[in-house]
């Protein structure tokens, strides 16, 4: 993914420090660029050997829906990239149950394996992080 990194420059020594980073996705894809640019950050984060988790709640659950076809709006379909996260050792993907259900979605509608968690568990996840980035 060098096209998005522009080269990773390690100016300060970050080795040894492992922080828990949580990326919170609350916005639907395509209507705005947040989902795509959030994913780009996550891919870079993988190179830093930090403890990375992704949370999908509210309209963010729409980001990982199967069957996205974007050819007719002439925008790159980036949903397959979520499947590539595993190759970057990013395996902690969480979906909030209530957000999923109020949108009429089920776990099998998602393009990647996720852990479906309750609102309370989502709150626990947020609280346990060192750095929370929401897009």
């Amino acid at each position: 993914m060098t096209e998005v990194t522009g080269g990773i420059e390690m100016e300060e020594d970050t080795s040894g420090k492992i922080k828990k980073f949580l990326y919170i996705n609350r916005k639907a894809p395509y209507g705005t660029i947040y989902a795509l640019e959030s994913l780009e950050v996550v891919l870079i984060a993988a190179a830093f050997d930090q403890d990375v988790s992704l949370a999908f709640l509210d309209d963010g659950v729409y980001q990982i829906i199967k069957g996205q076809h974007t050819r007719t709006i002439d925008v790159k379909n980036f949903s397959p990239t979520y499947r590539a996260l595993e190759g970057y050792d990013i395996e902690k993907l969480y979906v909030e149950k209530e957000s999923m259900e109020v949108r009429g979605l089920k776990e099998e509608d998602f393009i990647v394996p996720v852990k479906v968690i309750s609102t309370q568990e989502m709150a626990d996840l947020m609280e346990s992080q060192d750095v929370v980035l929401s897009f």
């Binding site: 919170i24 609350r26 709640l57 509210d58 609102t119 989502m122 709150a123 626990d124 947020m126 609280e127 992080q129 060192d130 750095v131 929370v132 929401s134 897009f135």
Partner: protein, 99 residues
């Protein structure tokens, strides 16, 4: 954890979603259009008053004042300036911005 909310509760569900995810010991700071969530007599007032029983809620005074809403704030919501915002960010171990 300090949660900041910058959306009006009558435009987006951001405040509602944030309040649902508060853990014991968390605080909320309303900034920008989020300060409309600090007002009395709105559809979200009850929700905020309920949250106030368990969590400190702050509103950024400069944003309230800019919008002419400084005299309509729910009792119990604490008003802070940017210096107070910094203090809150220092006091809580992490900051989550609900966008």
């Amino acid at each position: 954890m300090l949660h900041t909310v910058n959306k009006s509760p009558t435009e987006r569900n951001t405040l509602e979603s944030c309040l649902k995810h508060l853990k014991k010991g968390c605080a909320v700071l309303l900034i920008e259009d989020g300060v409309y969530g600090a007002l009395k007599g709105t559809v979200s007032t009850k929700l905020v008053e309920q949250a106030l029983k368990h969590h400190p809620i702050y509103a950024l005074y400069p944003d309230l004042e800019a919008r002419g809403m400084q005299d309509r704030v729910i009792d119990g919501i604490k008003l802070v300036d940017y210096s107070g915002f910094v203090d809150l960010a220092v006091e809580y171990p992490s900051v989550q911005s609900w966008l």
